[in-house]
């Protein structure tokens, strides 16, 4: 009979554990259309920006936002498969392609910052004196100074490849390390390797007190880094939460959202500059 007793005990245990799990699932997923899935880049998540924005949005509208952060390439891929409702990314060329192919509805500018080239304070390749960002990379290549690339098809990686293209160089060799990781990890790796890397200013500010790296090159206009938000096209994927996606876009580009973005600071530095007003300037309807 002891076996039977234990069997009953065991079954009871199962029920006790499944009960709260079920409750957890229901609490999180119902009502169904109140959940928005946002695919975004590691830079907005790792810097803490979304953590500062979303609770307010959720309180304002009652929506719950599930954030899935990956590189821009993967984030767009999730949108392309209809696995998310809205994407917040930073690679205008890829975004336009995404919309042209009918996966996304329309791109709304949200904010911008810029890219910077980080490196050891000693700046062995002397890129502080470079005439342009492409020249800076050319100097790194010429010196074969170690450079850590994101290598993950993210917005930052796309920008970096564009710069190599401008410099008419193919980065190959043991000095060029493709990490295949997020921005934060790559900054850490560059720090450990005393290497150069390209980073967005937002993530850099968030990490600056954790590394010995310095900004060694900045200010070239090609390093402009605009972020856009795009709702996944409901005509293509009727099941996406389009109303939720629009609510999030509306809020992000509203005065409240834009002010929150402008107010988001780390150690006194502004990480992102709001840019939704460009909508009206460009004459694109709200």
């Amino acid at each position: 009979m002891r076996a039977l007793q234990r069997f009953i005990l065991f079954t009871g245990l199962i029920l006790c554990l499944i009960g709260p799990w079920q409750a957890g699932v229901q609490a999180a997923s119902s009502p169904h259309n109140k959940t928005i899935r946002l695919a975004t880049t590691t830079s907005t998540e790792n810097s803490g920006l979304l953590h500062a924005l979303l609770p307010r949005f959720q309180a304002d509208t009652g929506y719950e936002v599930h954030v899935i952060s990956a590189g821009t390439g993967k984030a767009l891929r999730m949108g392309q498969d209809g696995d998310v409702d809205v994407v917040l990314v930073h690679a205008p060329a890829a975004e336009n392609k995404f919309i042209a192919a009918g996966y996304g509805e329309r791109r709304y500018p949200v904010m911008y910052n810029d890219f910077v080239i980080l490196g050891p304070a000693t700046d062995p390749a002397n890129i502080a004196k470079a005439a342009s960002a492409a020249d800076a990379l050319a100097r790194i290549a010429k010196r074969s100074a170690v450079f850590v690339s994101r290598g993950d098809d993210s917005g930052t990686h796309k920008k970096e490849r564009g710069l190599w293209h401008t410099a008419k160089l193919k980065p190959v060799g043991s000095w060029y390390r493709e990490a295949g990781q997020g921005m934060g990890k790559v900054i850490q790796m560059a720090d450990e390797l005393q290497a150069y890397t390209l980073a967005d200013r937002g993530t850099w500010i968030a990490y600056s007190n954790k590394t010995q790296l310095k900004i060694v090159f900045q200010g070239d206009s090609v390093l402009h880094n605009p972020y856009g938000i795009i709702a996944v096209n409901p005509k293509r994927f009727p099941e996406v939460n389009h109303a939720g996606a629009l609510a999030l876009i509306k809020w992000m580009t509203s005065e409240t959202g834009q002010k929150r973005i402008a107010d988001f600071r780390i150690a006194g530095f502004t990480l992102f500059t709001p840019s939704a007003h460009q909508l009206s300037e460009l004459g694109i309807g709200k």
């Binding site: 076996a3 039977l4 069997f7 199962i14 554990l17 499944i18 709260p20 799990w21 957890g24 699932v25 999180a28 997923s29 899935r37 590691t42 790792n46 599930h66 954030v67 899935i68 952060s69 498969d81 209809g82 696995d83 998310v84 990781q181 997020g182 934060g184 990890k185 900054i187 850490q188 968030a206 990490y207 954790k210 994927f237 099941e239």
Partner: protein
Amino acid sequence: MEHLFSATQTALGLLVSGNAELWAIIGISFRVSTTAILIAVLPAVLTAFVLSYARFTGRRLLISLFNTLLSIPAVVIGLSCYVLLSRQGPLGDLHLLFTQTAMVIGQVALCFPMLVAMGHSTFQAADKRAWETARTLGASPLYALLTVMHEVRFGLIAALLAGFGRIIAEVGASMMLGGNILHYTRNIPTAIALETSKGEFAQGIALGMVLLVMAFVLNSSLHYFQGKGQIVG
């Protein structure tokens, strides 16, 4: 070294102060993995039993297959489930990707082969007469099965622990299938991966310690059920 020391110190502080976010992550981890192992355990034990006691063609092939599945990286299981569950995939209509259910599915797929493989070797080592005797004495097949299971309970518990150990500490499949969504699918391993990438080592270490403590408590309590861990004469 000082860096590691201060990170550990902060980690302990976070745990003791009952940091809500940290404990929410711990709760999700425990809930998902416990659900997964509970779903997997009965079918797995039955499969293991059938593989040990029944005679049919293809049995050896099946055993090799389950043993092979043990070496599949969790990321590959994650990717396979991802492709199945994506809206573009065959099970896309269920809308399961990036939910706790998806994580449970991935973890069931991960621990099932382990439970079967270990359960099978456990049953194999058992005395076959237990089954025969129980049947001869008029026990129903179910009751006879329970008798055999009781005979080999230590081995089965060991299999359960190994299976649980694999999924509670697994990051690849959980990251892919759950999406590491805060308060929803962020569990201990994916949180450690995230905190590490953010350079927040203290949080990462705190979570790592929780994992260790959880494993220890679980092992100790099952050890208690097992008796003194010695061969009894």
